[in-house]
């Protein structure tokens, strides 16, 4: 029964255990960390997962390919659309379907909106974690606009289930373009406020700078991806490295944000700048959405040819890999979701050591965990 892998005989005389989570305000869900502390200094971290493990991979083995998609919403629920897209892309890759250009553009815009929404939520919670409580409401105000856009087109605010193999569920709502165009200048206006409120704040800077440093080599070795790795100078943006959807079919100008410091502030800045880059991407696409249908021809019952397929996309948290092994039947033989959070959690074990509890909370916040994404 006992899941502690450490016992008190391993402790040095000054040390004690602290059980952080599964119910703890800073673990953003049900992550459990067993900390070994000396005073307030973290000596060892041991994660204990599985409090929200729903065995999505096993479930997928009993579902048809179309039916997998709605399960991925529930993994990393903050980048639900990008998860949907990943599975859809993997299936399209296997079936060698060419989806209409409109679908690609819609997916990309939706994906970037999702990314902004996810980063906004992260920003709000980041502020909460370092004690600035007001950031949360400001971020949620702006995120709400994206949720409304999503609800209007996809019919759901968080778990959209919007991409399907070969297309998207619904066509864009007539209001979509107008709403997005309203949102872009709004966010452009509030992000400087965010910077004044939190980024520039001397207390925040002192809390972030030089804390939780992850070197370039460590980031690669830990399998870190997304903003976490880019904060350590690893260029790993899938949108650049192996473009998919509109990133492949259109010539989209955007920068991959990398910082070399590898500390909390670098990871923070990556996400703040990424929001603006995402706005750029949306701006380039929103005015010319082609009109060539929203669904490629697919069979009602999808069967993938025998083989194995890997699709990697850039979610808000990093590199999501959808690995499907098919044996030619209507159900996949094995589906693996390589979630970015899982590898990033691995990094926490090492970079959290030697810091104070308060710093550990800040580090966890900049690693941006979504626990269902880790547990799957």
């Amino acid at each position: 029964m006992e899941t502690l892998t450490l016992n008190s005989s391993d402790l040095k005389s000054q040390e004690y255990f602290l059980n952080m989570g599964p119910q703890h305000p800073a673990t953003h869900g049900v992550l459990r960390l067993i900390l070994t502390l000396d005073g307030e200094v973290v000596k060892n971290i041991e994660p204990d997962l599985g409090y929200i493990h729903r065995s999505i991979e096993k479930q997928c083995e009993y579902e048809g390919y179309k039916q997998i998609i709605h399960l991925t919403d529930r993994m990393d629920y903050l980048s639900a659309h990008i998860n949907n897209e990943a599975v859809a892309l993997a299936i399209e890759q296997a079936l060698e379907i060419e989806v209409p250009e409109r679908v690609k553009v819609i997916r990309t815009i939706m994906g970037e909106l999702t990314r902004i929404a996810s980063h906004l939520l992260w920003w709000g919670v980041m502020g909460m974690d370092v004690g600035a409580l007001t950031t949360f409401m400001y971020a949620f105000r702006d995120r709400e606009m994206i949720n409304d856009i999503m609800e209007e087109t996809c019919g759901a605010r968080l778990t959209m289930s919007y991409s399907t193999p070969g297309g998207v569920m619904f066509d864009l709502h007539p209001n979509f373009q107008k709403r997005v165009k309203d949102f872009i200048p709004h966010l452009r206006r509030v992000i400087p406020q965010y910077d004044e409120l939190l980024t520039g704040n001397v207390i925040f800077q002192k809390r972030m700078k030089g804390v939780g440093i992850m070197s370039h080599e460590d980031a690669i070795s830990h399998g870190a991806s997304g903003p976490v790795a880019r904060g350590s100078g690893v260029s790993c943006d899938r949108r650049k490295k192996d473009p998919y959807s509109a990133f492949a079919s259109r010539d989209i100008q955007f920068n991959e944000i990398t910082f070399t410091e590898g500390d909390n502030l670098a990871r923070y800045n990556v996400r703040m700048k990424e929001m603006l880059e995402s706005l750029n991407i949306i701006e380039q696409l929103i005015d010319n959405i082609p009109d060539d249908g929203i669904q490629a021809k697919t069979k009602a019952l999808i069967k993938l040819p025998k083989g194995e397929y890997l699709q990697r996309v850039e979610t808000a948290r990093g590199d999501l890999g959808v690995y499907i092994v098919s044996d030619g039947k209507k159900n996949p033989y094995r589906v693996k979701f390589r979630s970015p959070g899982f590898s990033n959690l691995n990094a926490l074990i090492e970079i959290g050591k030697g810091h104070l509890i308060a710093d550990l909370v800040a580090i966890m916040s900049t690693l941006d965990f979504v626990v269902p994404d880790i547990d799957r």
């Binding site: 579902e63 048809g64 179309k66 039916q67 998609i69 709605h70 399960l71 919403d73 529930r74 007001t134 409401m137 105000r141 709400e144 409304d148 609800e151 209007e152 087109t153 996809c154 019919g155 759901a156 778990t159 289930s161 399907t164 569920m169 619904f170 709502h173 406020q193 004044e196 409120l197 939190l198 520039g200 704040n201 001397v202 207390i203 800077q205 009602a300």
Partner: protein
């Protein structure tokens, strides 16, 4: 000198932050300008027309629906939220036995609002309702029968 510079620079950044929160606070005190709260039961909730609240079956004024009992939705559903109980009834006119639904059972408690059933439906019999007042004290109340009692298949859907 950097010591004093630190102090003054630090205070400056703090003042900037206070300016931002203050710029929201004072207008809010005067006329609640930036307040985003919707006082839900008093003010109606904004629900978009496409909102996926629950699956309903469309009935016309003669209590007729469009469901032929083909079970496409039941097959499409990823988690078994839909069960269709059907039997074959003799059609008086043609003399053939026709499939007819007895009960279209929908487990709202298991539904993940993935839209696959509605996409699968060949006759547009089921659709989304934007109703989100779904909370009950009893889980069994979430199991609903979509076809109204005594309803019949609309004429002409079969083709």
């Amino acid at each position: 000198m950097s010591y004093l510079g630190d102090v003054i620079g630090g205070i400056k950044t703090l003042m900037k932050g206070m300016k931002v929160t203050g710029s929201y606070f004072f207008p809010n005190v005067i006329n609640k300008k930036y307040i985003i709260t919707r006082q839900y039961p008093d003010e109606p909730a904004i629900v978009m027309e496409r909102f996926k609240g629950e699956v309903v079956m469309w009935h016309n004024e003669n209590n007729e629906h469009r469901c032929t009992g083909c079970q496409a939705c039941e097959i499409a559903c990823p988690n078994g939220s839909i069960e269709i109980i059907w039997n074959r009834v003799l059609n008086e006119e043609t003399g053939k036995k026709v499939k007819q639904i007895d009960k279209h059972i929908y487990h709202l408690g298991m539904c993940t609002m993935c839209n696959l059933c509605i996409q699968a439906c060949p006759t547009n019999a089921i659709m989304w309702s934007t109703n989100f007042h779904n909370s009950t004290y009893d889980r069994s109340k979430l199991t609903k029968v979509l076809n109204k009692p005594g309803s019949k298949l609309m004429a002409g859907v079969e083709e």
